[in-house]
């Protein structure tokens, strides 16, 4: 099995694979082929991004400590080059890729997304990267895959927070295959036109702008395609408080606090709270994914 490159002409089996995803998305194959990697500009918000200082000094990345300032202090100890990503639930014989191999030929683009944390604050972040589906479409994904699971690197010698059992390491997250293939679902490798800082999940992180921030898993080393819903860290930690979907929803409160409003980071001490929007304002883009779903039950 040769290395799959973006520049490769899509072989037949990949095409079939695409067909499956196309069906999953409920789109025609034509529409799918017609939107390769060129980003629709409308995917970015027009909101003013937060400053790089705010984005890089206010992080939840428990692998480096539970305080928001810990990641900026301690994340430099993580080696992000070389970086390997292992794939499971794919039929190709090569399952381990170097990051450079994955990035080769990818059309890198900017996406300015709003990020809403489950704790009740929000930011606007100009990410650099590519849609996750550009990567998935290059893989020979098992036909029965319904979910995608992601895993953060486990390296306690470099990530001091992992020496303590704050969470059940390694950190894991997951999406349905439909969510993973949604054009908004993004892999960030950079920020503000530069390389991704370690505290923001270097070198390779997920960004799902319509879900609470903890779904957007950082420093990924493993991606698995599977039939059943995967283990996800926070929803296992406290199933009543964090669901598998964890879509931003002002009408479904966290059991211990309200999700109706959010503090906008950068507004200062006297800033007004912002009303939280359903799916973090991305309802037009992702509303169809959850049509008919009881969002109070599948929070």
């Amino acid at each position: 099995m040769k290395i799959l490159k973006y520049s490769d002409v899509t072989p037949h089996n990949h095409y079939l694979n695409r067909r499956k995803f196309v069906e999953a998305l409920g789109l025609t194959s034509l529409a799918f082929v017609a939107t390769p990697t060129t980003a629709k500009l409308s995917y970015s918000t027009s909101a003013k991004p937060n400053t790089i200082e705010e984005i890089t000094n206010y992080n939840n990345f428990y692998e480096f400590g539970t305080s928001k300032t810990d990641p900026a202090k301690y994340a430099h100890s993580l080696t992000t080059d070389p970086w390997e990503i292992t794939f499971e639930g794919v039929s190709q014989s090569k399952k381990k890729f170097d990051l450079a191999e994955i990035l080769k030929g990818k059309a890198i683009q900017e996406r300015i997304y709003r990020l809403r944390c489950v704790e009740g604050w929000s930011m606007v972040i100009p990410w650099i990267g590519f849609p996750l589906r550009d990567l998935i479409n290059e893989l020979e994904v098992d036909n029965n895959a319904k979910f995608v699971a992601f895993e953060t690197v486990y390296r306690p010698t470099e990530m001091r927070g992992q020496k303590r059992a704050t969470l059940d390491w390694p950190y894991r997250e997951g999406l349905t295959i439909e969510e993973a293939l949604h054009p908004l679902t993004f892999i960030a490798t950079g920020l503000y036109g530069k390389e991704l800082p370690n505290q923001n999940g270097a070198p390779f992180r997920l960004v799902v702008p319509w879900k609470y921030g903890f779904k957007s898993i950082k420093s990924i080393t493993k991606i698995s395609f599977m039939k059943d819903q995967p283990y996800t860290t926070w929803s296992s930690e406290s199933p009543r408080e964090y669901g598998f979907y964890s879509n931003v929803n002002p009408n479904v409160d966290h059991p211990r606090w309200s999700q109706a409003t959010e503090r906008v980071i950068g507004e200062g001490l006297f800033g007004e709270r912002r009303k939280t929007e359903l799916f973090n304002g991305y309802i037009e883009e992702v509303g169809d994914l959850y049509k008919g779903m009881d969002l109070k039950k599948y929070y």
């Binding site: 200082e53 704790e119 211990r256 309200s258 950068g266 007004e272």
Partner: protein, 209 residues
């Protein structure tokens, strides 16, 4: 003991000043945007955490004297009141800045949010202590009544710890530390109660029989 004599010679008014300076100082830093990307949460948490720390210090003074012969009894009232002022500042930040004076949010928080309910009752139990922390009240009140009121601080600390636990996402180092200290202080307190003493003499007598 230079350390303890130095402590004993500090005038109370100076202790008040030193311990209360962080309140306006942090507020000023908040206004000039020196508290990081989320100044509101920083200020709210800082006042609350300092309030908790000063409550724990207040509670440690009597065991420190009893078990370690370190006498800071002179400062107990002052530090207790300092804790109260931090807690008042904490609540002001919550009410004026965090929820923006919204009575609706306050009422819904008080109905639904366990950590707010716990924090609210912790504050309520501290009010009579603060009001009677002066010589006038001490003279006016029967000492038994006064002592009973001031034992409310144990209820307040338990509620405060619950408030902290319930608002946290995970067990952080600070949370373990404050909860551990609280449990330790409570054990010492329980051991010094008449009830416990009676109970232990009863059991000891039982064993010796």
């Amino acid at each position: 003991m230079i350390f303890s004599s130095l402590f004993r010679s500090l005038p109370i008014s100076l202790v008040y000043c030193i311990l209360l300076i962080p309140i306006p100082l942090y507020f000023y830093w908040g206004i000039v945007n020196q508290l990081g990307p989320d100044p509101l949460r920083f200020l709210e948490h800082k006042y609350g955490e300092l309030g908790l720390i000063f409550l724990l210090i207040t509670l440690s003074i009597s065991p420190l004297f009893k078990y370690a012969k370190i006498n800071l009894m002179r400062y107990r009232r002052c530090i207790g009141l300092v804790a109260f002022y931090y807690i008042v500042s904490h609540i002001c930040v919550y009410f004026f800045l965090d929820i923006g004076l919204s009575i609706d949010i306050l009422l819904s928080d008080l109905q639904k949010r366990y950590y707010i309910i716990a924090g609210f009752f912790a504050f309520i139990t501290l009010i009579p202590l603060a009001l009677t922390s002066n010589n006038f009240a001490l003279r006016k009140l029967n000492i038994k009544t006064w002592n009973r009121i001031h034992n409310f601080i144990y209820i307040a600390i338990v509620l405060s710890i619950f408030h902290f636990i319930l608002m946290s996402k995970t067990w952080t180092g600070e949370l373990y530390l404050y909860t551990g200290i609280t449990i330790f202080i409570l054990i010492l307190k329980i051991k010094s109660t008449k009830f416990y003493k009676k109970l232990s003499t009863y059991f000891n007598a039982d064993i010796s029989k």
